[in-house]
């Protein structure tokens, strides 16, 4: 079976700085893969390469067997990859519900003239987008429900913004979800909740998930497979236990001297 996502020999550099070197990575359909590594390891750059924000210097990226290198980010999203941002890039001045509805752009087709005249296709699509947004927001229990639908996104708390980012990515109807540090800035209770949520995303949403995460409890709780990056190079891959005890990983996180502390 061909993997859903496959990177082969991907390299990326900013000027003279090599950020990703000759990286091979694959994610199978239905899998949850975590990417870990210290700050500056190239994890977010990896996401930017997959989503077309950056173009790789060399190597190929295949999604469902087809190369997506050179496609614009919106085209890649339409192929079935949606992401969240580590730095939270919501549409702050739009309402919570509109944020989710906006992401349905790629798989709807009414032209602006149809929308202006409220022609049948525009009305039908609008209804469907509404239902889709409500369904995606309901996925988060009461967190993003009720009056919050009509509040501007900037009024949300930090944790709720992270949830909204996920809901927005879901509304693009992807097969592969890229989650960039979904638990960053969350308290322990919320972190626990996010761990369960990611599991539910696969079970109920049917998404394949590639996730960057620093919180090892989350990584341990969700991952089928863990990939560790350091300075743009894959230094370990395997189950959580195997990677977490891998010498090179411990070294990358803690330095050479302290290989005895886990």
């Amino acid at each position: 079976m061909t993997p859903l996502l496959q990177l082969g020999g991907v390299s990326m550099a900013f000027g003279g700085l090599q950020v990703i070197s000759d990286l091979d990575l694959h994610v199978n359909e239905g899998e949850i893969v975590s990417v870990i590594g210290p700050n500056g390891a190239g994890k977010t750059t990896l996401f930017n390469l997959i989503t077309g924000v950056y173009q790789p210097r060399s190597g190929d990226i295949l999604f469902a067997g087809e190369s997506i290198v050179g496609l614009a980010p919106n085209q890649i999203t339409n192929r079935g990859i949606a992401r969240t941002f580590q730095t939270l890039r919501l549409f702050l001045n739009m309402t919570v519900k509109e944020n989710v509805m906006a992401a349905a752009y790629g798989h709807t087709h009414a032209t602006v003239v149809e929308s202006m005249l409220r022609l049948p296709r525009a009305r039908r699509e609008e209804k469907a987008i509404n239902a889709l947004a409500e369904e995606k927001l309901a996925f988060f229990g009461q967190r993003l429900m009720g009056y919050r639908w009509n509040q501007p996104a900037y009024s949300l708390s930090y944790a709720n913004r992270r949830r909204l980012e996920i809901a927005r990515a879901m509304a693009a109807q992807p097969r592969l979800l890229l989650l960039d540090e979904p638990a960053a800035g969350m308290n322990p209770v919320e972190t626990h909740e996010i761990t369960e949520l990611i599991a539910r995303l696969r079970k109920e949403g049917g998404y394949t998930i590639l996730v960057i995460e620093h919180d090892m409890h989350v990584v341990e709780g969700i991952s089928d497979r863990v990939v560790a990056l350091d300075h743009g190079v894959k230094i370990a891959e395997g189950t959580f236990e195997a990677v977490a005890t891998n010498e090179r990983v411990v070294e990358a996180y803690l330095g050479l001297q302290t290989t005895e502390t886990k």
């Binding site: 980010p73 919106n74 702050l92 509109e98 992401a103 602006v112 929308s115 699509e125 009461q142 429900m145």
Partner: protein, 517 residues
């Protein structure tokens, strides 16, 4: 709910799906403005949008029925044309956040396009149903073409490029009376080596009114209703567009272009679409203006008009359709109301009345508590009377001036005039005949004092406010009013807009925007 009721005894609501206790009571926590105005506002906002929409435009439709004054109808039409222009500009500036300074070109192309298709300029006299869609459609295409090279630009860069497009249009319109087709004019069957296309600085005159069949719209009433219909239709269409996938995408790329693109939006196409749709609305306004003025003249489509359209939109609140309409009303009607009709008997319809009433309203609404209001107003009255007495003792001629009246002469101006003459220092023959250039310097002093007000706080500010208000009235009566229909009303309108924008940076009906939280 009364404060004494403990929460545990609160009536149990039917459990709503997805709403906990805190969520379901969010309405109770929103702060509301008190008093009669707050109550009226609340009740008004509870009405469905459709009802407010039809009530408001229905009211506008009644204006020609209530008055037969052609002058008022004319102002109404100009207001509606500006409303239409602001609605169009709102698509690129308000929704998509593209600072399109070339917008004036689309307005001009609309007017010139209609003028060329329906006048004796080229001997073609198209009917309205053919000319308007042709011109609007062509302008949308031009909008797309102009957006094509600039679609990757944003912010300041886009502003510079589009400003350039606007200037190109103006230059073409002014210079377009001597078009040379590679020097082959005569070989191509033209009579002159300089082919006159736009009429140059004189523009195109004797343009037909809108004609359908054998009926031609000529009356002011007709154009009022035509423009009103255009505003209503465009308003509704843009409202629907704003709440569609395209409108949400426009607003999304305004907030975060990269995130919008990653969320599947075709941002370059959407930018071009925003400029194209705006161009179409601008051209529609242009055709109406061309038919209304029965001509297309370059100076109606220059940068000054562009700035007015921006003032309308920003004052009303970029991003808000009703704001665009309200902004047009405030700016256009405001400019007319500031003309110095100087009859004291009619305080509502003259600039002088507006001047004093506005100052009074601003002091009354912005100052708390009442003691301060009384102290400042009382202080201003006493300050003026004292100054009048002191200067009058030293220089008797200095307080023997009259009040400028509607016949542009000076008289005593009735009882209100009496009060003003004994409060201010108006020298005989006030400005023109007396030649007191000192008042020019007092204008400068007034501006300095207003700037000073922004630097001070507390009682010092109140203390400075007293001579400032007095000086404003002094400068107005002794100097500004003489040029009331010229520079003064623009000056006063500008000052008013600054005050409003300082108080409400998001515009009258705009929502406050957040860039980064």
């Amino acid at each position: 709910m009364s404060d004494s009721t403990p929460i545990v005894d609160a009536p149990v609501h039917d459990p709503e799906i997805g709403a906990d206790e805190w969520v379901s009571r969010s309405g109770d926590r929103t702060t509301r403005r008190g008093g009669l105005i707050g109550r009226a506002e609340h009740e008004l906002m509870r009405l469905p949008g459709t009802i407010r929409f039809f009530a408001f435009f229905g009211l506008l439709a009644l204006i020609p029925v209530m008055t037969s004054d052609d002058y008022l109808i004319r102002i109404g039409t100009v207001t509606l044309v500006f409303a239409l222009l602001a609605l169009g500009l709102n698509v690129s500036v308000g929704y998509a956040g593209l600072l399109d300074l070339g917008y004036i070109a689309y307005y001009g192309i609309g007017a010139y396009g209609y003028a060329m298709l329906a006048s004796s300029k080229f001997g073609v006299h198209w009917q309205a149903w053919a000319a308007i869609p042709t011109v609007v459609g062509a302008t949308v295409v031009i909008g797309f073409l102009l957006a094509l090279p600039s679609r990757r630009l944003s912010g300041d860069y886009l502003a510079i490029v589009t400003l350039f497009f606007g200037q190109i249009f103006y230059t073409l319109a002014v210079q377009g009376y001597k078009v040379s087709l590679l020097g082959l004019n005569k070989d191509l069957g033209l009579h002159s080596a300089n082919w006159d296309v736009t009429g140059g600085p004189n523009g195109i005159a004797n343009v037909d009114g809108f004609r359908i069949g054998s009926t031609t719209a000529i009356t002011d009433h007709a154009y009022y209703y035509i423009t009103l219909a255009a505003v209503v239709l465009v308003f509704a269409a843009l409202h629907f567009a704003n709440n569609s996938r395209t409108g949400r995408a426009w607003r999304a790329l305004n907030d975060d272009t990269l995130a919008a693109q990653v969320m599947s939006m075709r941002i370059n196409w959407l930018k071009m679409l925003a400029i194209g749709v705006g161009a179409g609305v601008g051209a529609l306004a242009g055709t109406i203006n061309g038919a209304l003025l029965q001509g297309a003249f370059p100076d109606d489509y220059n940068t000054y008009v562009l700035i007015t359209i921006y003032a309308v939109l920003i004052l009303g609140g970029a991003g808000s359709l009703s704001g665009a309409v309200l902004g047009a009303i405030v700016v256009t009607v405001g400019l007319e109301a500031l003309r110095p009709g100087t009859e004291f008997s009619d305080w509502t319809a003259n600039g002088r009345g507006l001047f004093y009433v506005t100052i009074l309203i601003v002091v009354l609404t912005m100052m708390r508590p009442w003691r301060r209001v009384l102290a400042v107003l009382g202080g201003t009255v006493v300050f003026g009377i004292l100054l009048h007495v002191i200067i009058g003792a030293a220089w008797p001629r200095g307080v023997h001036g009259g009040i400028l009246n509607s016949a542009s002469t000076f008289d005593h101006g009735g009882s209100m005039g009496w009060a003003i003459r004994h409060w201010l220092v108006l020298p005989a023959g006030t400005f023109q005949t007396g030649g007191y250039t000192v008042f020019n310097y007092l204008v400068v002093l007034l501006i300095a004092m207003i700037l000073g007000l922004t630097l001070l706080k507390g009682w010092m500010r109140d203390a400075l406010l007293v001579p400032t208000i007095w000086l404003a009235a002094e400068v107005y009566e002794a100097r500004l009013i003489e040029e009331g229909s010229g520079a003064t009303r623009f000056l006063l309108l500008g000052a008013g807009l600054i005050v409003i924008m300082a108080k409400r940076p998001q515009g009258l009906l705009g929502k406050p925007r957040v860039e980064i939280v």
